[in-house]
């Protein structure tokens, strides 16, 4: 019986790969299987042997438009879910999202400011990333300066930082040029992967990789942090240090994700619950499972966003429309994997 369950769990790990291949076919431009196989072989041989590639339309669609976007969706989904599940553990609350410390609001403001001032795609990404980290540092230093201890102070600091950056974002919107900048700001805030190119993936790969690697190594320790400060300390853990490391790693991943995709809600909240239903609450299995399901979920939603209507539907809208009912269903079924 357990063997059967484990083999099924192992199958879930192949899901992102299967969806990656499947998603290559999805889109307005028709790509039959033979074309995908043919172009894949050509692209592969050019990658390995350096044979020149004849740039056909299907090659451009598959490998310069669809593939970078697919990879971005996988990375963003995995990052948001990993950060979400980690935050839920250290804040001992299954209703926490990756944006709890104001990272979403901070990144949003950074991006809006960049759109207003420079209108350069690279600068928008950099500012979003930097302001996400800045929001985290503000929240942490605010909680350090306060007399109280523990997770509640962190959460309150996050709320304060969030509302400040949300107000500043509104200010930027208010002064922005209503014909060019304002629509760009609004569109960015709703989240999209439509403009992602390979170069963008390079920027986010390092922070995501570092964050994911450290969290994967520390994942068993998140179990212990979830018992509360006193018990974790009695089990020999340096609670403050460990919590800080996990917050920094989760924020690195979140900021990197937000910098290319915009603020996408619900993924980091709902995916950990789905993962908990499959493998239970132990972070040794839960964290990798959240990563895999997050990647798959995001890719599926992105496929929807570029197919269900003639125009692109912003991702943030779709994740809410898909995520919220899914969450309601999980609550109704009472299969949340927590008390």
């Amino acid at each position: 019986m357990p063997d059967c369950r484990y083999s099924r769990t192992a199958l879930v790990y192949l899901l992102p790969l299967a969806l990656l291949i499947g998603s290559l076919f999805v889109g307005r431009y028709q790509t039959p299987v033979s074309a995908v196989v043919d172009e894949s072989m050509k692209a592969f041989s050019s990658l390995i042997f350096g044979t020149p590639v004849s740039v056909s339309t299907s090659h451009t669609v598959l490998f310069n438009v669809r593939l970078p976007r697919i990879l971005a969706a996988l990375l963003v989904g995995a990052a948001l879910s990993t950060a979400g599940v980690s935050f839920q553990g250290i804040f001992r609350n299954p209703l926490v999202s990756p944006y709890i410390l104001g990272v979403g609001a901070g990144s949003g403001f950074g991006a809006c400011l960049a759109i207003l001032l420079w209108d350069s795609y690279l600068l928008i990404q950099l500012m979003a990333f930097a302001f996400g980290l800045l929001a985290m540092f503000l929240a942490i230093s605010m909680s350090k300066a306060s007399k109280g201890t523990g997770t509640l102070v962190f959460v309150l600091s996050g709320i304060i930082v969030s509302s400040i950056f949300t107000a500043l974002t509104s200010l930027v919107k208010y002064v922005a040029d209503p014909y060019n900048d304002l629509p760009a700001i609004v569109f960015w805030l709703m989240g999209s992967l439509a403009d992602v190119r390979y170069g963008d993936l390079l920027y986010i790969l390092l922070p995501m990789f570092v964050g994911a690697l450290v969290l994967l190594f520390l994942r068993w320790r998140i179990n212990i942090l979830s018992l509360g400060d006193e018990e974790a300390k009695a089990l020999g853990m340096n609670v403050e240090k460990m919590r800080l490391i996990i917050i920094v790693c989760a924020t690195l991943m979140t900021s990197a994700a937000v910098s290319i995709s915009g603020v996408i809600g619900w993924v980091g909240l709902v995916v950990p619950h789905i993962a908990r239903m499959i493998v239970g609450p132990n972070y040794s299995r839960l964290l990798p499972m959240s990563m895999v399901i997050g990647a798959s979920f995001m890719l599926l939603v992105d496929d929807l966003s570029r197919t269900i209507a003639a125009t692109e539907i912003p991702l943030g809208i779709l994740t809410s429309l898909v995520g919220a009912p899914l969450f309601a269903y999980l609550v109704r079924r009472g299969r949340m994997g927590w008390n």
Partner: protein, 260 residues
């Protein structure tokens, strides 16, 4: 006998007056110390100070001759197992996953428990008699079972000293006796135990020593017979208390008397 624990002039304060001060006592291998006292006397705070969870304002705690201040949280957790009062677990870990968390002080920061650690966890569950529950979620356990699981987790730390904070509170009569029997059994295997308790009578059942904490200081310390007296208990708890010898059971009991 080997001196296990030495608490010297220990004091603690949350910033507005001391919770307790000048608390000193020592404990040998295999001894059980019962700390008695009314609610709010600082019993739990004292236990947490010894466990290194709270930082004492003054004084020192040494275990096996080593000052815990120089051991660090990790070093302390290898020598002292702390069993909190009924805890609230947010995520319903399986009993085995929960118990194996006690291996944390023995594993390097990036490591996860291996098969050997799992085996130690299973052994500890067997010691408290809960082997059958290994795969159950901790959220589904009864009060008595959760208390035993917490004790099993502390045993997994392979400590020399066990600290129990009110292990019998919230438990029904039968489960109280089960927990006390477990305490006795562990002590007979050489474990030193410090235990807070609401019930002075528990000191007669398991204690080799007793101490009474009232208004922030130790008002009595020593053999159970000399601490749990009707006079001392009446003054500590502020109600009339009788201590009587039950002849055919060859032990003393401590009972409340009606009226003031």
């Amino acid at each position: 006998m080997e001196l296990m624990l030495k608490v010297k002039s220990l004091a603690f304060s949350y910033g507005n007056g001391p919770v307790f001060e000048n608390v000193s006592f020592s404990l040998k291998k295999g001894e059980v110390m019962c700390i008695l006292g009314p609610n709010g006397a600082g019993k739990s705070t004292l236990i947490k100070c010894i466990a290194g969870v709270l930082k004492p304002a003054a004084g020192s705690v040494s275990i096996l001759g080593e000052d815990t201040a120089s051991l660090g949280v990790r070093g302390i957790a290898r020598l002292i197992g702390y069993v909190p009062q009924q805890n609230e677990v947010v995520f319903p870990f399986s009993v085995l996953d929960f118990v194996v968390m006690g291996r944390a002080p023995h594993l390097s920061m990036f490591a996860s428990p291996c098969a050997e650690d799992m085996e130690i966890a299973r052994e500890s569950l067997a010691v408290v008699g809960l082997s059958d529950l290994a795969e159950r979620p901790v959220s589904s356990l009864s009060g008595g079972q959760s208390q035993m699981v917490l004790i099993a987790r502390a045993l997994v730390q392979k400590p020399a000293l066990l600290l129990l904070d009110e292990p019998t509170s919230h438990l029904d009569f039968g489960n109280q006796v089960l927990v006390l029997e477990t305490v006795q059994r562990l002590a007979s295997l050489g474990m030193s135990i410090v235990m807070n308790t609401h019930m002075p009578d528990h000191a007669f059942l398991v204690g080799s020593k007793a101490a009474a904490l009232a208004e922030g200081r130790l008002v009595a310390l020593g053999e159970v017979e000399t601490v749990v007296t009707s006079k001392m208990m009446s003054s500590v708890y502020g109600v009339k208390v009788a201590v009587r010898e039950i002849e055919d059971m060859k032990r003393k009991v401590c009972l409340p008397l009606q009226g003031r």
